[in-house]
Amino acid sequence: MSDLLTLTGITKSFGGVRALKGVDFSLRAGEVHALLGENGAGKSTLMRVVGGELQPEAGSITFEGRSLTLADPKAAADLGIAVIHQELALAPDLSVAENIFMRELPAAISWGKLNRRARDVLARMGFELDVRRRVGDLAVAQQQVVEIAKALSRDVKVIVFDEPTAVLSSRDAQRLHDIIAVLRDSGVGIVYISHRLEEVFKIADRMTIMKDGALVGVTSPQVSTIDDVIRMMVGRSLAALFPKAAHRSIGEEVLKVENLRRGIKVRGVSLSVRAGEIVGLGGLVGSGRTETARLIFGADAKESGEIRVHGKVVKINSPLDAVLAGIGLVPEDRKHHGAILDMSIRINTTMARLKPVVNALGFIRRQRERDTVMKLGQQLRLKSAGPEAPVSSLSGGNQQKVVLAKWFHAGGDVIILDEPTRGVDVGAKTEIYGLIEELAAAGRAILVISSEHQELFGLCDRVLVMAEGELRGMLLPEDYSEEKLLALAMTNSVAADQAAPLDLPAHKHQPVN
């Protein structure tokens, strides 16, 4: 089969950073081609060249046998090349339908027609979503669906997915894979970037592996194993994905939340986390996990509920109250909530606890701050041009590390992590798991929200499962399985009431304490 798209010797630098060093890449029609590599390997940059957003300094692009330059995103779009970015680019104040047809909105909008067409596109994808809703009000996963629908609203020959499943639950990810299979069978060339290697091995026909801006090799799931690919990506083999801290003892109850409520999203959630314990919060996207975390942290106002830290009732009406009570939150949406993209790594890292780097007069102790930030950066293996580099210049995974560094620096007794390894490569994931283990071993109470079930099972001492704003049960390590988790996550409230899972300790559902 001949190639649909060929890139040869693509080179691109940003200031002093050589992001791409003469990379070759080829894509055939009707294949799913995975692009793999560590955070900062240059995957997104290469795809931004394909999307016409970046002009390479050297190298050539051939599309359907013709050599060409892609001067801007429109040139690429006109050829039928669609790139779905890692960082979503939607207009938050417009509706779902308007966003889907953004490029071809007529001067006078006929709402009935527009909404109908939008519903059609979504239905073809197998997703249901109110097309009139404001995109800014949607959860990240739903926004991802809109972004994909936007790409599929016109005819495409090449479609690039840059970490599409990082924010999707496994059920939504499965649906996306079904869509991809259909697209492939209709002859579309698909580039698929992901750090979730299991899914890559399930759907990819070929895999290109990059490291430090250069090509390492091209292989396929038939030829290589996951371990082979990790070795190509990282340059070494990984001992264990979930490193366990040498010694971790579970102590006193640190965080206790009782009957937390807000609207239909959080309906009477009670939970507790003890010192040295890592508790998981599982469930489908939209089950109220993020909202629960935000209520505990004071990011939203709760209607009712009591929060205790170390046995003492704390009044939490704002994130400031939470931080003072020793609670930290690594939010799900790093672009809007986690990091200040325009500002330096240094400033972002110390934002949640400025005290140690500020003197009595309010002056910043610059050298001390730099040292602190450099040390954390080394611990997390942050890849950057230095502490003064703006966070926006980092690759997605490294941006996430900066947000983690911020809360590691803040050092509260309770740390809530909402999708902590979203968009993080395997090597860095292991490091982050190790760091979470270390935090727990140091006596912190840790609550982890994740849509990656393996992550919850590998990391947590127990996993609470939410659905429709309520806790539906708890899994202990001996019960860990996808089926059991999904069974709890998908119970509807009537069935749950009848089964009364929370009162049956002998059953597989444990009481939530």
């Binding site: 080179t11 390479p56 300094e57 050297a58 190298g59 050539s60 692009i61 013709r66 050599s67 060409l68 330059t69 892609l70 001067a71 801007d72 429109k74 040139a75 006109d78 050829l79 942290f297 990011a299 704002s318 994130p319 400031l320 939470a322 931080v323 003072l324 939150l329 939010p331 809007h336 909530h337 986690g338 990091a339 200040i340 993209l341 325009d342 500002m343 400033i347 934002m351 949640a352 400025l354 500020v358 007069l361 309010g362 002056f363 910043i364 610059r366 911020k406 803040a410």
Partner: protein, 329 residues
């Protein structure tokens, strides 16, 4: 469909001077230098010591207000009330100096300005009302208040009471007018605060991503409120300078000066979206405004034409700083 697709080979690696980036950084400096050189050619009088001191003295009030405005704009806000607060500061200083002496008089005047800023600040920061509208309301109300307090009349001070303040207004220290020293002091302090303190960092951070700052456990409203207080206090201080130069307090001074102040900050490269801007460029922005007015006076451009030129210069400044993408097309 293939219009924008050219079949030419990709040009080889080129590392050229990035004009867009250069002007984004140094646009204000360029404009300033070009203006000064141009002005020097146009008029022999321009570079005389007397004229330079004159320009500096004239911009001292605008410059001081521009510092307050810079803080507000850095948080993503705007303060339209500074012109009116300037008038209030002028009136209050004249009355209070007459009654209580220079020190307390100046103090009371600045406190009055800070008080105005506190009210707008609370409404903007805690009640979450839009700064444009709130400070617009304050602009009207404070102007009225200044006129009520002064009864619509210029306020004369007794000769004894006014000596110190008028000496300041017309005096020199080391050959430089006293108000210019005051402006310099304000700029230096602001520069130190913005660059080296927690407060300055948080002000910029709030303008860049307010929600991320809030979610870091920072009491955002406190800082937002503070910038309006600073802006109000500095506007009143500019009012004191006005009084010191004329010897009278007046409720009608500073009409429209908020626009000059905003223009100075924006010519200095600050973004009205917040997060971007610095004191040195703001000073240059104020100087640019002053030099333009001065050279047009020197060569005798009539008032209305001056306004048109002023508008044109602002547009040119914006194009230099932000239009690079447009030029590239």
């Amino acid at each position: 469909m293939t219009q924008s697709v050219t079949a030419t080979p990709v040009p080889a690696s080129r590392r050229s001077f990035d004009a867009g980036e250069f002007f984004r950084r140094y646009g204000t400096v360029c404009i300033f230098v070009v203006l000064v050189v141009g002005a020097a050619f146009e008029s022999n009088a321009f570079l005389s010591d007397r004229n330079i001191m004159n320009v500096l003295r004239q911009i001292s009030g605008t410059g001081i207000m521009a510092v307050g405005m810079l803080f507000v704009i850095l948080t993503g806000g705007i303060d339209l009330s500074v012109g009116s607060i300037l008038a209030l500061g002028s009136v209050v200083s004249a009355i209070a100096i007459d009654a209580h002496g220079t020190g307390l008089g100046v103090g009371l005047s600045v406190a009055a300005g800070a008080g105005c800023g506190l009210v707008t600040g609370v409404l903007v920061a805690y009640a979450g009302l839009p700064p444009f509208v709130i400070t617009l309301a304050a602009m009207t109300a404070v102007r009225g208040f200044a006129l009520i307090v002064s009864d619509g009349q210029p306020i004369m001070m007794g000769d004894d009471a006014s000596t110190v303040i008028t000496n300041f207004g017309s005096g020199f220290f080391l050959g430089i007018p006293d108000p210019v020293w005051l402006m310099a002091l304000v700029f230096v302090l602001a520069g130190v605060v913005l660059t080296f303190t927690k407060f300055g960092r948080l002000v910029k951070a709030i303008g860049s991503n307010r929600e991320a700052v809030r979610l870091s456990g920072i009491a955002v409203p406190r800082y937002v409120m503070a910038v309006y207080v600073i802006s109000g206090a500095l506007a009143a201080l500019a009012g004191v300078i006005t009084t010191s130069r004329t010897g009278v307090g007046s409720g009608v001074v500073g009409v429209g000066s908020e626009l000059n102040v905003i223009a100075a900050v924006v010519i200095g490269g600050a973004s009205l979206m917040g997060g971007k801007g610095g004191v040195i460029n703001t000073l240059l922005g104020a100087l640019v405004m002053g030099v333009i007015a001065n050279i047009m006076n020197l060569v005798g451009v009539p008032g209305y034409n001056q306004q048109v030129c002023m508008g044109a210069i602002i547009v040119i400044a914006m194009l230099l700083q932000h239009g690079s993408r447009w030029f590239k097309r």
